[in-house]
């Protein structure tokens, strides 16, 4: 086997895995705090892809030529607007159902997911949308024919994922907000008695989760160049799988699960067979869950007596 092929597949897997990880962080955050899956998360990611294209188009209409400036402004804008989406989703689909059965908010989140998909489909059209490639650079190792390459966008995605994971871990472990989050997660009633505004904490978590989806949406759109109203579904399911694989509720777990899933997919696809890559990845997931039901880095749930 040639080293550059293996190397390239590892790079492919790492990038794909970082994308999964970045979105998985959003799932895992929400689960970690309120113990519920936000199924609309993938669609928030899809919305951020559209916002990216709109923002880049507006900026270029205003004559902004500097690419880094445009990307930073776009990132800020999409994070802000999807943050508002995250806040609204919590307000509409979760808060009114707090205290009801665990299944009710799950269904309402799926409802929001369908609502967002169909809304975007009607408002923006069902066709593929694209953005021009803004960052063209590429790092190559090797000679002209046999090389391993990583584009600048891919590198940016990997850095952003690890940065986001580190930043959130710091936020949860070291800050006052993080302490309040952890308190809310451990015992919401007790936290309330101790003066924590748990409603606000949960809203904040949704906003942070949505902002993470926005980072992913912007960078992934820059990487692939095209998107449609349905991109949130496939990516969302894969990211959710990554979160479960790594141990849902654990931030490093989401990242680890994402990267493992990405590597499984690209290595299996590259050296065995592309047709069966999803069969393989999900078989691995089943095996992991049989031996470690709470995922690779997840803490087993202790029954409180």
């Amino acid at each position: 086997m040639d080293w550059h092929i293996l190397g390239q597949q590892l790079v492919n897997g790492l990038t794909l895995g970082s994308i999964y990880g970045l979105i998985a962080i959003g799932y895992t955050m929400v689960y970690g705090i309120i113990g519920m899956i936000n199924f609309a998360h993938g669609d928030v990611y899809m919305i951020s892809a559209y916002l990216t294209a709109i923002s880049l188009a507006v900026l270029s209409a205003f004559g902004v030529e500097s690419v880094p400036f445009a990307i930073v402004v776009t990132l800020g804008l999409t994070m802000f607007i999807t943050g508002v989406y995250g806040w609204s989703i919590e307000r509409v689909a979760y808060r009114p159902l707090r205290g009801s059965t665990r299944l009710a908010p799950l269904i309402s989140a799926i409802g929001i997911s369908l609502l967002l998909q169909n809304y975007v489909q009607v408002a923006q059209g069902a066709r593929n949308q694209g953005i021009p490639s803004l960052i063209d650079g590429v790092f190559r190792v090797g000679n002209d024919k046999d090389f391993v390459q990583m584009t600048h966008v891919q590198l940016l995605i990997v850095i952003a994922s690890f940065g986001a994971m580190a930043g959130l871990t710091w936020l949860i472990q070291r800050t006052s907000l993080g302490r309040q989050c952890r308190a809310t997660q451990q015992d919401r009633h007790m936290a309330e008695i101790l003066g924590i505004n748990t409603d606000r904490i949960i809203s904040t978590v949704f906003v942070i989760g949505a902002a993470m989806a926005a980072i992913a949406g912007t960078l992934v759109t820059l990487n692939y160049g095209s998107f449609d109203f349905f991109v949130g579904f496939v990516t969302g399911i894969k990211a959710f799988t990554a979160a479960v694989l790594g141990g849902i509720g654990s931030l490093p777990g989401a990242m680890l699960g994402g990267i493992l899933l990405g590597l499984f997919e690209s290595l299996f696809s590259g050296f065995v067979n592309t047709d069966y890559k999803d069969v393989f990845s999900f078989s691995v997931l089943v095996l992991v869950l049989i031996f470690r039901p709470s995922g690779l880095l997840g803490r087993p749930e202790v029954e409180k007596v």
Binding site: I5, Q8, Q9, G13, A126, R127
Partner: protein, 375 residues
Amino acid sequence: MRKAIQRVFAVSVLAGAVAYGVAAQAADAIKIGIAGPMTGANAAYGEQFWRGAQQAAADINAAGGINGKQIELVKGDDACEPKQAVAVANRLVDQDKVDAIVGHFCSSSTIPASEIYAEAGKLQITPASTNPKVTERKIPTIFRTCGRDDQQGVVAADFILDKLKAKKVAVIHDKDTYGQGLADAMKAAASSKGVKEVLYEGLTRGEKDFNALATKIKASGADAVYFGGLYAEAGILVRQLREQGVNAPFISGDGIVSADMVTAAGGPQFVKGVYMTFGADPRAIPAGKEVVEKFRKAGYEPEGYTMYSYASVQAIADAMKATKSTDGVTLAKWLKAHTVQTVMGPKAWDAKGDLKVSDYVMYQWDDKGGYAELK
């Protein structure tokens, strides 16, 4: 509880009355169902179908309709999903009571839906489904205004082997009836000429990352890449190949005939040089000149299957005019025995419902996001 049941009952009676009213009112019109992916990743093709049929209906209605009756179109959206296609087919037949159908687009939708139309005895003409199985199942009432993948695959294989002189061909498909069928047809034609593919793999529709596959194609040392599938995946695949420095010619079929190919790839620089097989440009056929002008005046470029859809409606109208019937079997018998003058020139069908003459030619995309026939 009883009150709730009463209310539901009242509403359903009301809904039934409304549906009946619609059906009664439409009795003096000829209803044609237009079925295809009106939404979803392939909605660009649904729009081509709809635009073409709309213009055809307007033109025929303006000229007096069919035996004095006006044509009324009913939209059916299958999103290129087999399950939804069956549901839509049932709705068109049972609820909308259409007299004939133009559709569907994806072969994987056309095949299951055709069983329902056949059972109801409705004439079905697909403007775009090229999989051989569409007309190979002994259904008497199905026709197509496009060619077949076994014809298309041979044209592609000849081009790849004789013109491009490729020795190592990578064959990729999207695991769907159309895509895999086309890839298999090309593969069979190539191996009958003694060239065996170096790679044969299926990707997953709806995904955005084919980098692992691109690296694999690169490792195989392929000097030509053939793809059976649709533009949404073709665009991304060709982009990721080019990004990884694979510059081997990329050849595909009529599944990528849409300006959306460029959007999916994220720019014309990636699509430049891509080859595809498609029927001789319907916009260049003299018989359709006037209609093409009409479309352009309305601000719509009748690309891809627009004219095919127009021609399908024409064929239905002509058969109905001649036989004074809407019965699928009668219409089918007439179509198989006569030549119809359409905007795509004269068309005649064989006993299976395939065109007697198919005219696949090779096209190439340019660096401005357009495509032209290869001379």
